[in-house]
């Protein structure tokens, strides 16, 4: 998280932190394990009122950032989400809101977008598919066939975050003109939603099958064949949120484990006094601070929408996905036996980091993406 914030950002961050601290302390998160949606509608509406889905939407469309840099502001919320392993469709709602603000029709902007901002509706992005097609949108097999004014969608998306809870699905599909994006009501005919067992305790995913689902022309977002910039932007937003969220979760896990090292005695000494353990903490601290720096930098690049944004985002996501997962694993290791029990909290943070690492590209996927982009830049 940025070390230097504007007063408005500090206030905004503190409000979200306070809200999450009171509305989803860890015991509440544990309770929500058995909640089908993983979050309560009221909680999400209150969060939306705090501005969680407004930040990437211009003021003239009913949104508004805190600092003028929406992605950086959103990263503050994401960090708090990670720190509290908070529930709620932060990633997909912001992805969809951002794209509707950029490329939505007037109807979409005055309708769904407003409901997303207010928290009255939830939307999600259906991009990823079953292997081997689950890349970064390079290999979309869900088809949208033109049919009169509208389109007919067929194929499977998995995993779709909040797929069973979302009112609307933004589906990335292949058309004859190239990739296009379509808003599909979750309860449309031909849509089958199968909830999945999630590695995260409260973040839910679904597998969604589209079996000849008909959508009207008004469901098209942007112009099929010309959505590359939207897609790239969506990926960047998702990865910015994930990166900041991983940092927040790792901050919490690190703090817990450092406390443990001071209070746990072995051989008459605190764990924190063993040199080998001290050096592991030094490495963890390095990974943590580097991840902070990269995540902040990624958010700033995306705020500026500059030429290096894609690389900065992939670097943050890949680094955090790789090193913060190792950091949390080492936190588990340092706890010994209780670290692998359900009763202890440390796994909650590892879960969140694991799903953030896996979805929207693994570290290796992002390494390759950076390499491709660098090589193309030099060409």
């Amino acid at each position: 998280m940025e070390l230097v914030l504007t007063d408005d950002q500090e206030f905004f961050r503190d409000t979200t932190r306070k809200f999450l601290g009171s509305e989803c302390p860890i015991p509440k998160v544990r309770e929500l394990r058995d909640n089908e949606a993983g979050f309560e509608a009221d909680y999400w509406r209150q969060g939306a009122e705090l501005g969680w889905v407004s930040l990437l939407v211009p003021e003239e469309l009913g949104g508004g950032s805190v600092s003028g840099n929406g992605p950086s502001d959103l990263a503050l919320v994401a960090h708090a989400f990670g720190f509290h392993v908070a529930p709620g469709p932060l990633i997909p709602c912001n992805v969809v809101a951002s794209t509707l603000a950029r490329s939505g029709s007037e109807e979409q902007q005055s309708g769904l977008l407003q409901d997303l901002i207010s928290g009255a509706q939830v939307a999600t992005w259906a991009l990823t598919e079953l292997p081997p097609h689950d890349a970064l949108g390079d290999d979309v097999t869900v088809r949208a066939e033109a049919d009169g004014d509208g389109y007919v969608l067929s194929g499977v998306k998995s995993p779709v975050e909040a797929g069973a809870e979302a009112d609307q699905l933004l589906v990335t599909a292949t058309t004859d003109a190239g990739i296009g994006q379509f808003l599909v009501p979750r309860d449309a005919d031909g849509v089958t939603v199968t909830p999945l067992r999630s590695v995260d305790l409260v973040r839910r995913y679904a597998r969604i099958e589209f079996d000849g689902v008909r959508v009207p022309a008004s469901a098209v977002v942007g112009t099929p064949g010309q959505v590359a910039d939207d897609l790239e932007h969506q990926l960047q937003i998702a990865a910015v949120v994930q990166s900041a969220e991983m940092v927040g979760a790792a901050d919490a896990g690190f703090d817990i484990t450092l406390d443990w090292a001071f209070s746990r005695y072995s051989f008459g000494r605190p764990l924190a006094s063993f040199q080998e353990i001290k050096h592991r903490f030094a490495d963890m601290k390095m990974w943590l601070e580097a991840s902070h720096g990269l995540a902040d930098s990624a958010a700033r690049h995306v705020s500026r929408a500059d030429a290096d944004a894609a690389i900065a985002v992939s670097a943050a996501k890949a680094y955090a996905g790789q090193y913060l997962a190792e950091l949390l694993q080492d936190c588990v290791q340092l706890h010994g036996g209780i670290g692998v029990t359900y009763e202890h909290d440390i796994h909650l943070y590892l879960r969140r980091i694991t799903v953030d690492r896996l979805t929207y590209g693994t570290p290796a996927d992002h390494h390759r993406r950076i390499g491709e982009l660098r090589i193309a830049q030099a060409a």
Binding site: P132, Y265, S266, Q333, G337
Partner: protein, 423 residues
């Protein structure tokens, strides 16, 4: 119970091997997939059924004359040599050898009894082990103790011919379905920690012992914690001298590591044996995910397989080294370390091979468990002695590097700091 028949001439290893081969082929079920403990969350009923099958299979081995190869005949064993055991191990590859019942029942518990038990204890407790009737657990770790098992707080106070035990033990795998615990207890608080311990045999299911099952990250509940309140143990169930429990404990720990490193003469079969042979989980995964032609996936599959080979090659080497006296006994810690290190990297490879769809799955997905398995990856570096302790042992006991300075070495245990000042 005492067997008085002793064979006048010992059966040769090759004869024994051929006889075992024949007998296994005729009498023993084959296994394509060895059950590995703690990998999957199964129901208690299924677990109990699996344990019963292990008991039955052990009985089958016993009745067939292949249980306790290196155990003296007077305690129900065969009185043969480690070479015979190795021959049996080699022949038993591919058979459904009852693993769960062997560790920790045979090693370290039976091994400790053989070394330190009284004649009466050996006669009473060992035959039921070999017959699959008695499953033993280690009552060793405590909630406060971590790797420092000698810092046991659970205390036995003498009361005539009995001892009264109070305290708590934890990380007993499957105590809920087991019969006895081999238990390390503090019997003296006024001497340095290693000099005030004693070892006892304690039946698990009795009044005064409350069993709590611990839920693990993956949902399994095989580990238990026992709360002991005024549990009475007859002095005749003490193993080794009073306050000399660390003498027992040192060998106990050695036997445990030996079991994990695959070097114990009391274990039949080799841990993990069947698994590598039957199928390659990484190949399965890349085929199931349609990535068999992807060079990146191939590279990861290759690395994972290499690590498996490294683990096997190292274990085999360490066994040979210890057997031939070229390596010190504590070298088993090297095998213990690589088992965790290799597993953890393999586990991470599986996660990345599975990709985004490992984040949330349906039961039938070929990658269904990869994400969940990642959550408990470190179990491999904690259970059965942490990797930290393994590295200590390798450096101090194999490489003879200076021991870590400790505050508590010559201090009465009562005075050793057990938490931050003021707590």
């Amino acid at each position: 119970m005492t067997t008085t028949t002793t064979s006048t001439s010992v059966e040769s290893v090759e004869e024994f091997r051929l006889r075992a081969r024949e007998w296994l082929k005729e009498n023993f079920p084959r296994s394509e997939n060895v059950h590995l403990p703690l990998r999957a969350a199964v129901s208690d009923e299924a677990e109990l059924a699996a344990i019963q099958r292990q008991r039955d299979l052990q009985r089958l081995l016993f009745d067939g004359g292949f249980a306790g190869v290196c155990v003296p005949t007077e305690y129900g064993g065969l009185g043969l040599t480690p070479d015979h055991q190795r021959a049996l191990n080699e022949e038993s590859a591919g058979y459904e050898i009852p693993f769960l019942i062997q560790v920790p029942t045979f090693v370290p518990c039976m091994a400790v009894l053989l070394e330190f038990g009284t004649e009466e204890q050996k006669l009473e407790y060992i035959p039921p082990m070999l017959k699959g009737e008695a499953i033993w657990m280690q009552f060793l770790s405590e909630p406060s103790g971590g790797s420092d098992v000698a810092a046991a707080l659970t205390t036995a106070v003498r009361d005539g011919d009995e001892w009264i035990v109070n305290g708590s033990k934890v990380w007993t795998t499957g105590a809920w379905f087991s019969d006895y615990g081999l238990c390390l207890l503090r019997t003296n608080w006024d001497v340095p920690k290693h000099r005030g311990l004693s070892v006892f045999i304690i039946p698990i299911h009795q009044e005064g012992i409350e069993l709590h099952r611990i839920e693990m990250i993956n949902g399994s509940k095989e580990f238990c914690q026992e709360f002991m309140t005024d549990v009475r143990v007859p002095d005749s169930d003490r193993v080794g001298e009073v306050d000399q429990g660390w003498t027992v404990g040192t060998r106990w720990m050695f036997h445990e590591k030996n079991a994990m490193g695959g070097g114990s003469p009391f274990v039949t079969g080799t841990l993990h044996s069947g698994v590598q042979e039957s199928h390659d989980p990484y190949v399965d995964l890349v085929r199931a995910t349609g990535r068999a032609d992807d060079p990146h996936a191939q590279e990861l599959v290759g690395e994972a397989h290499m690590l498996g080979l490294a683990r096997s090659a190292l274990s085999a080497r360490i066994s040979t080294g210890m057997r031939t006296g070229q390596m010190p006994d504590n070298s088993a810690a090297i095998a213990r370390l690589i088992s965790a290190v290799a597993f953890q990297r393999q586990n991470t490879i599986s996660l990345d091979l599975a990709g985004a769809n490992a984040a949330a799955t349906l039961p039938g997905d070929p990658w269904a468990e990869k994400g969940f398995s990642f959550l408990e990856r470190q179990s491999s570096g904690i259970g059965g002695g942490t990797t930290e302790m393994a590295r200590n042992n390798i450096s101090e006991k194999v490489l003879k590097m200076p021991r870590e300075m400790t505050h508590d070495k010559n201090m009465p245990f009562r005075d050793v700091p057990k938490g931050p000042p003021g707590n």
